[in-house]
């Protein structure tokens, strides 16, 4: 048994599911193995805000008992970690903020509820940029997460803790959220797979809101197959989310075998023209060649308004964040300033001290673009340009089945590198945010290395084409083994 246990952390979710089914090991043994890895490595990575060791072992033991009786769900006894943006009943939910440092949610997010009812065992809650506002995990009140490929570098953000934990083989899979690239960008920078579903595909209920018209829950895994397994359990209509979409949920694992033969892949020339690191460009082109060799056709397409997506996104996202975060008033929950002299002072000081620099900057930016005299010039204008960007994608999908290109302009950058210039940090999201503006599904899949740092290939589909992008990513992983590379020291 000991020999097998040592290898458990290297297995994918699909492999672990088979192992549990064949009684090669128990959920308890699996969870014990991963908890000891978390204990060994997390002091250097800082990927976790909470680790629920005792509860996880209890849940794993209960799952083993249920399995013995034949009562086991799709994800029975399989380990998972949740980004600390998802509310978990009775468990600390901080959203990476001092504001929620002591917040215990009275209910579970729908995503948590669905995965738990499918049998998944929660090992912990992962570190993240404060309120998901950041691209490097450096805005977290709990300190930055470090990239297992080079601990002096960022794992990306905002789902950086989830990505680092999966990359370091501390856990096979994790949930994340993606408002402008917060799943795909950290996945690209850590050699993991990151799936952002169509807007409305997965419930936002209980997921602490950043920008409601852009936020979507998804997963970080090491294979497209694992992402398909999780999405099958997470997707679907939820009446508690007012923008949830009632659209049939297929078995995403079944459609993974769709061949690349005949798939029309759109390539955006602008992606390769400016800003993209040359070596990254070369890895992405290699990946596109692999897809072409397996029968896909590459078709050049144009998204004329793509360059406008960064300013458009930061107007819309900050406007929505300023509205969403007005609920944090220091009265009902969250950080409360001492000795307030009046109600206004209580609000201003609770929010001034409870929020970090980047969150305050975005609340103020959003307040400005929504304020009297500026609304038409900024917010309304951005909503119109958003329509143009969305229309560009729609036109492109009349010619192609998916669009493929880089996920990020560079590999992981050093911690501290971009913290002093917000615009430089925002431009890091150039390839990912168009997808959120248009509400499309996107996936990042490992496609090689530049100077020993991972590079991601992004595959984007039309609304509700998760089956197509998952199959494309899965097929790519059948012909390449980049995703099997493990950072040194975490084998």
């Amino acid at each position: 048994m000991v020999g097998q246990q040592q290898a458990l952390h290297t297995q994918t979710l699909a492999e672990l599911a088979k192992g549990l089914l064949n009684a090669e090991f128990s959920s308890y043994e699996l969870v014990e193995c991963l908890l000891s890895r978390i204990e060994e490595h997390d002091s250097s990575l800082n990927a976790f805000i909470s680790v629920m060791a005792e509860q996880a072992l209890t849940d794993a033991a209960a799952s083993d008992k249920a399995r013995a009786k034949g009562e086991v769900g799709l994800l029975g006894g399989l380990p998972i970690v949740h980004k600390d943006i998802f509310c978990t009943k009775g468990i600390l939910t901080t959203c990476g903020s001092r504001m929620l440092e002591n917040f215990i949610s009275p209910y579970d997010a729908s995503v948590v509820e669905q995965l738990s009812s499918a049998g998944a065992v929660i090992l912990g809650k992962t570190n993240m940029d404060e309120f998901a506002m950041g691209s490097s995990n450096e805005t977290s009140y709990f300190g930055p997460v470090r990239n297992p490929w080079d601990i002096e570098r960022t794992p990306g953000g905002s789902s950086g803790g989830s990505a680092a934990a999966v990359a370091a083989r501390l856990v096979p899979v994790a949930t994340g959220t993606d408002t402008g690239g917060s799943i795909r960008q950290p996945a690209a920078l850590t050699n993991t797979v990151g799936l952002k579903p169509t807007y409305g595909r997965v419930s936002r209920y209980g997921m602490i809101a950043f920008a409601s018209s852009l936020d979507q829950a998804g997963v970080i895994t090491r294979t497209a197959e694992d992402a398909a397994m999780l999405l099958t359990a997470m997707a679907g209509f939820d009446e508690r989310d007012s923008t949830s979409v009632d659209h049939p949920v297929p078995d995403y694992v079944e459609s993974l075998t769709r061949p690349l033969q005949g798939l029309r892949i759109g390539i955006i020339q602008q992606h390769f023209d400016s800003g993209l690191d040359e070596k990254c460009a070369s890895r992405v082109k290699d990946a596109l060649n692999v897809l072409e060799q397996q029968g896909a056709s590459l078709i050049e397409i144009d998204l004329p308004n793509l360059d406008l997506s960064v300013p458009t996104y930061y107007v819309v996202a900050t406007a929505e964040c300023s509205s969403n975060l007005s609920r944090f008033d220091g009265v009902r929950f969250g950080y409360r300033a001492d000795d307030a002299k009046d109600l206004l002072d209580l609000y201003c000081r609770s929010r001034g001290n409870g929020f970090g620099v980047e969150v305050k900057r975005r609340i103020m930016t959003g307040t400005y673009v929504l304020s009297a005299g500026y609304y038409d010039a900024y917010y309304l204008k951005a909503q119109k340009v958003r329509q143009l960007i969305s229309q560009d994608f729609k036109n492109a999908f009349e010619k192609v089945d998916v669009i493929a290109g880089p996920t990020t302009p560079t590999p992981a950058f050093p911690l501290g590198d971009k913290m002093d210039n917000p615009i430089t940090m925002y431009l890091n999201d150039i390839y990912t945010i168009g997808v959120n503006l248009a509400g499309l599904p996107g996936i990042s899949v490992p496609c090689g290395f530049v100077d020993d740092l991972p590079v991601g290939l992004q595959i984007i589909g039309p609304h509700f084409a998760e089956e197509t992008i998952l199959a494309c990513a899965h097929q790519y992983q059948q012909y390449t083994n980049w995703h099997q590379r493990c950072p040194e020291g975490y084998e």
């Binding site: 409305g200 018209s213 300013p311 000081r349 305050k360 304020s371 329509q387 503006l437 509400g439």
Partner: protein, 95 residues
């Protein structure tokens, strides 16, 4: 710079955020750089374009007007440090 200290103070008040005096200059510079960055949108012709409010162009769904929430006041109020007899306490607002 597109913003000055006075305007930034006005925005902070609207947003109910207290800024530290030492941070003010930096906030003015960075917020101005963001607003300047947004200004490129002004060049784009959008005369006959409908503003986009929802990525899937869906209308808001309605539900039957019935009570679905259960009363969890006690559980919810455990997250506040200043509760008395089921009420939240705030500084006096009426003289």
């Amino acid at each position: 710079m597109s913003l000055n200290k006075e305007l930034v103070q006005h925005i902070a008040t609207l947003a109910r955020l207290q800024l530290e005096e030492d941070d003010f200059d930096d906030v003015v510079v960075k917020l101005s750089s963001i607003v300047d960055f947004f200004d490129q949108l002004q060049q784009i012709p959008t005369d006959n374009v409908e503003p986009m409010a929802h990525p899937l162009h869906q209308a808001q769904r309605l539900h039957p007007d019935v009570v679905t929430e259960i009363n969890e006041r006690d559980a919810i109020q455990t997250n506040s440090s200043t509760v008395q007899d089921g009420f939240y306490l705030v500084p006096k607002v009426i003289e």
